[in-house]
Symmetry: C2
Amino acid sequence: MAKYMDVHYGMKHITADQLMAAHKADLEIEAEERVHFERAWADPASGTVYCLSEAPSAEAVQRIHTRTGHPASEIHPVPISV
Amino acid sequence: MAKYMDVHYGMKHITADQLMAAHKADLEIEAEERVHFERAWADPASGTVYCLSEAPSAEAVQRIHTRTGHPASEIHPVPISV
């Protein structure tokens, strides 16, 4: 298992309710890919969402995000953190 | 006070020791701008570092990062999180 930071562009004007709904949808099916989405942060002005997860691969992260209707624009392994 | 996610590009091959040293340097002076750097995550392969903070402004975040020698490439306010 490894940590990933994925980034979604084009989410301008995303609301707190929309972010929560998207996160809940991910949580509902994440176990099927052994992914866990830990946190997400949104900048509605630029339309950027950052999402931190623990997962077996970037592909597993993307499969969950795709099934819930919001595929990531980028997925970065982040093996180092403080 | 608000939450910010800043992004540093061009940090290829950054090591755990280097990330820790950069974070410690920020922590040592952050109070002078009423900033607090909470977490940072690094992708050494692409050279991307994500850094989560609480601060009075993006400019305050950048002043600390600049004084410690690693100005951010982007600083995003992230008023929404889950």
